[in-house]
Amino acid sequence: MARIGLFVCRCGRNIAGTVDVAEVAGILAEHPGVVHAEEYTYMCSDPGQLKVAQTIADQHLTGVVVAACSPQLHERTFRIACEKGGLNPYMCEMANIREHCSWVHPEEPATTEKAIELTRVAVEKVKHSRPLTPIRIPVNRRVLVIGAGIAGIQVALDAARGGYDVVLVEREAYVGGHMAQLSATFPEMERSRFLLRPKLAQLLSHDNVWLLTNSEVVELTGFVGNFKATIKTRPSTDAEAGLDLADEVFPRGVERQRQESTVEVEVGAVVPAIGYDVYPLESIPEYGSGSIPNVLTSLQFEQLLRTSEGGELRRPSDGAVPREVVFIQCVRSRDREHGMPYCSRICCMYTAKQAMLYKQRVPDGQAYVFYIDIRAQGKDDEEFIRRAAEQYGVLYLRGRVSRIFPQDGKVVVWGADTLSGMNVEIPADAVVLALAMTPAHGALDVARLLGVGADDHGFLTEAHPKLRPVETSTAGIFLAGACQAPRDIGSCVAHASGAASKVLELFSARHLEREPEIAHIDEGICAGCFDCREVCPSRAIEVKEIRDRRGELLDTVATVNDGLCQGCGLCVATCRSGAADLEGYTDSQLFSQIEALSSRWTSTTSAEKPGGGHGG
């Protein structure tokens, strides 16, 4: 006979403000199988958890229900509390009466009634729960890093220094990504390649790092700790050899595939660090769609700055020195109508940097910057911008540019200065566009390949924006750098190291404990139709042969690979004989939950109550 303890959380006023917590506890106290019901201010607090553990011991509970916030937040907390009290953690369920109830409904009887029903559902579920024990699976302590830009390099470096094998895959023929193409970094004003060099040198000096350029991951199977990646490598041309920063720093160079090849690598973790691209200039008609000479993208300008180091900066069209250069920020950023709604974050700073470097190259030149807001929130950034404006005489104009057109050898810019309230026209020698930062081309394919989420734009989605910024919703796959959101180099490096620490954490033990909420198949019932095998997305269904004493094959039935099964339950829904079931979501649990929602229970709440809320 079940002995269930119920704990209803007030969560300060978060729940108690709209739900009559006392009534929830009161009514459920009468529910069959419930032997203990109480309310408390903060169940998640140490004393709250202590209550749970204590009551389990005192009341010899066989199950616990905590009616509080979303299980996404505290299920683990309370399951551990139950363990402390000597109860199998999987005999604990939560009823979400905050996110799904108190926060979304006004204060009225219907809200309390809903809270009561949700709690009852949890109680009924626990009655049909079974004790479960976590599954231990081995971890292959080798990491696959996709993308050898600064973020990828940093992840690889940290993992290698942690003593683990690294497979670093780069789509291009060279490593270093965009950073290798930049002139200098802000606000330090140091040659970008000088910063990249030592990292690369150290990375390649580790003999547990395997760098594959010209390569792409074409398939990924398996699961956390036990992935299998298929990597396709293009043959590299002689032209490519030597171009690479890697050759610069690494005396014996990087060995390159001469013929196309495909390899399969077993890894325990995967870190996509696939970086970013910029919005195509071709699709910006009002700025000439790339047809106007001397209208450059910021990356093209970086190239100019890098190559003109020490010398004079000359524009590509006619080799003339541009005396007046207009920089335009937020091109297709913060522009939900024509481009990207988000802010590309780094443009303000690199534009200021480019303007300053330009002035260094062309001391008598004049730089203009069109901006909407100057976003200089990083360390030393504000001071950097002030230097640009005050010491380098860069003229900042607050406003967008509506049109650019060529006119007798000049590029005429029509913009506004919203501070003086005037429209301005600048005949410039060159225009530099800070194009929106977009996800790298093919980002969505990578997302699909790895089975991680991506937002509407194609930036890969982190598990939680605040507290899990480098993890994905798929165990064993972590994010690094600008593929998650636009960020500058420093932030990329920190973010990458963050991803690396998750890898090191995962690799710190040879085994990983997995949630036991997975499917199992009753061999006694299984008819061996293997429909389940067809639908299983994680290829977890295997064939098991049943033989008699003499080894004669009697039957083949389906069985579940604990390591692979992710517990989606597709097989259960598909199985016609009802041999399959899903721990934590068994048929008996679910049917009892549905019955708990039956209208007949409403008799337990007072009859005057209107049935439901009217929204707000």
Partner: protein
């Protein structure tokens, strides 16, 4: 109407003169508007104090001269006191006044003849003297 901006217009002698005379660094201003927010006389100004500096940035000499702003600044230093960039607008305005006077862009000079006798009697000498100073350069 669209204002043409170029290196020439920016590096106009005007801005140079103002900086030289006032000893203030006009480019220190980042247009936060604190000066305008606090200026007691701004209600009567055709251009706000921060707009004066903005127009200096853009080299719009005529606009600056045309406005009554510089002549209404009493150098009360409220702006300087609260300016986050340490710009002393009173010095800038005084410099512009002088340039205006020199270049004949000033309104009629304010002199003894402009005061009605009645006022003159009750007016504190310091008021008269300072007024003549401000308008007489």
């Amino acid at each position: 109407m669209r204002v043409k901006i170029s290196k020439a217009s920016l590096q106009s002698g005007f801005l140079v003169d103002v900086e030289e005379m006032s000893g203030e660094h006009v480019w220190s201003c980042y247009q936060c508007g604190n000066c305008s927010a606090g200026c007691p006389l701004a209600f009567a100004m055709e251009l706000l104090p921060n707009q004066i500096i903005r127009l200096l940035h853009l080299g719009q000499e005529e606009e600056v001269f045309r406005a009554n702003t510089i002549w209404l600044c009493t150098s009360c230093l409220t702006c300087k006191t609260r300016c986050p960039r340490g710009v002393d607008l009173s010095r800038i305005n005084e410099s512009i006044r002088h340039l205006a006077l020199r270049r004949g862009k000033a309104p009629d000079r304010f002199g003894p003849d402009q005061i009605e006798p009645g006022v003159a009697a009750s007016a504190p000498p310091q008021g008269l003297a300072s007024a003549f100073r401000k308008f007489g350069g």
